[in-house]
């Protein structure tokens, strides 16, 4: 139960690869579960769909893209925040845009943080480094939510 898992909700395989590379470059070796869209993310968290019948470990942090096929990032966030089991989980929005409305909606729905993926990969590396340091090392969470 001590395993600190990262749930990466991201539909773009390039971004998945780059994020994983950024973790590796920053020596973040936690297990990363990738959900390719909102449905998969919810399936993992609530043990439904392709995770039905399994007992999944709740992640230490969820990195959530906003623009996702089927169920959008904001909808995923809303459902995470309304379910007793997941409502306190740290959720970091990690997305392309810094549209004012996305920021407002994200925080309104209870996001813990909002990070824009920079085009410049060096800056992205730095962002992931800070993110990993903060949410996986510095930030303390209760044993059981």
């Amino acid at each position: 139960m001590d395993e600190k898992i990262i749930l990466l909700v991201e539909d773009n395989p390039d971004d998945v690869a780059l994020t994983e590379r950024a973790f590796k470059k920053n020596n973040i070796r936690n297990r990363v579960i990738v959900a390719a869209d909102g449905v998969e993310a919810l399936d993992y968290l609530f043990c439904s769909g392709k995770y039905a019948g399994q007992t999944t470990t709740l992640p230490q942090v969820i990195l959530l893209d906003l623009k996702l096929p089927r169920v959008s990032g904001l909808e995923v966030l809303k459902m995470i925040r309304t379910d007793e089991r997941t409502k306190l989980l740290p959720v970091v929005i990690l997305t392309s845009s810094k549209e004012e409305q996305d920021l407002i909606d994200g925080y309104k729905l209870g996001a813990n943080s909002y990070i824009r993926k920079p085009v410049d990969f060096s800056q992205f590396l730095e962002a992931v480094k800070q993110l990993g340091l903060y949410w996986l090392v510095l930030n303390e969470t209760p044993k059981k939510w």
């Binding site: 773009n12 971004d15 780059l18």
Partner: protein, 426 residues
Amino acid sequence: MRHIVKPLKNFSATAIRIAGGDYDVSIPVSTKDEIGVLSEAFNSMGRGIKDRSEALALSKERLKNAQRIAHIGNWDWDMVKNELLWSDEIYRMFGIPKTEFGATYEAFLGAIHPEDRDFVNSAVNGAVSLGSNYSIDHRIVLPSGEVRIVHEQAEVVRDASGTPIMMSGTVQDITERKLAEDEVIKLNVELEYKVRERTAELEGAVKGLESFSYSVAHDLRSPLRSIDGFSQAFIEDFGESIGPEGHDYLRRIREGSQRMGHLIDDLLTLSYVTRLEMKREEVDLSHLAEAVAVEQKKTVTGREVDCIIAHGLKAAGDPGLLRVVLDNLIGNAFKFTGKQEHARIGFYSVGTEGARTIYCVRDNGVGFDMKYYGKLFVPFQRLHSTVDFRGTGIGLATVERIIWRHGGRVWGEGEAGKGAAFYFTL
């Protein structure tokens, strides 16, 4: 006796003629006694009556004319005898010959449009029994069948005990005015409908624009991240085997993708400042300019930049948008003095244009040729190469849109090699 009887007979005959309306009479004054004095007085009275009745006739004629021109008639209703007295203009207005009108209240009601009869009747009753104000519009039907609209105003006269005895009022034909008013109402309704229709269209267009820029913000940047990220990964993982040329190519690829990233960001800012809902509050421009200068100074290396910012410049506007204006104008001043060993940048006011203050950002940088002034505020137009000065060419276009939204204007002055000045009002 005959001296007295004859003049007396004369007097009474003349008085009868005057009473009959013949004022062109005079009694010969033959004696200088009392009879003579009386005759003189009698004649003078006759002339006085003649003058006054002529004046009265003239005054009546003028009133009649006035009523005819203004389409206003007046009436008196003797409520005790139920006799209604109309001025000529009312007969003309109602299209009824004087001889055919019964001259009673009931006859008047008969001329009113059947649908308005109850309403008029209750308005009269209200004025008579409750003392309420009588000022109404109603329709009348002319004998020809034509329907006209009149405005009536009246007062009730009461005797000492408060019993109503008489009602006096005016009638005005307001058909043309009413029709014009109806037309105005109809046009207004149409206009409102059109405005709603256009607004809906515009809202649709704005929605389209919003979803477009949303998609630009999200989707256009992600391939750039792939290009930049994997170029970087390539350099890191296979850098040793690609040689200096390979490195150079990859560097160019990365620079290109990053430049495109900036372009997209600037474009989004441009569209953002156009559609953002604007606040209007007091903004301390001097304070904003100081903050921008502090930020800009962090990027300066190996040269001196003197910033002279006037104190206490205040304006009404949107603080966020005005920050974007100063970010761009002062940022440009820093950028285009980049090759100046000793740069000087100023922000101050240079007087007024009407009621508006003119603000100015001036620098001693590379300036520009006024020949190309027309391109200065056009998006994506640049007057310098990206090699000399980086940039996307959207900054001044953004500034112009913000200034326009504040109701002001912006213009520039420059000379190649001798600096530039940008002025704006809010």
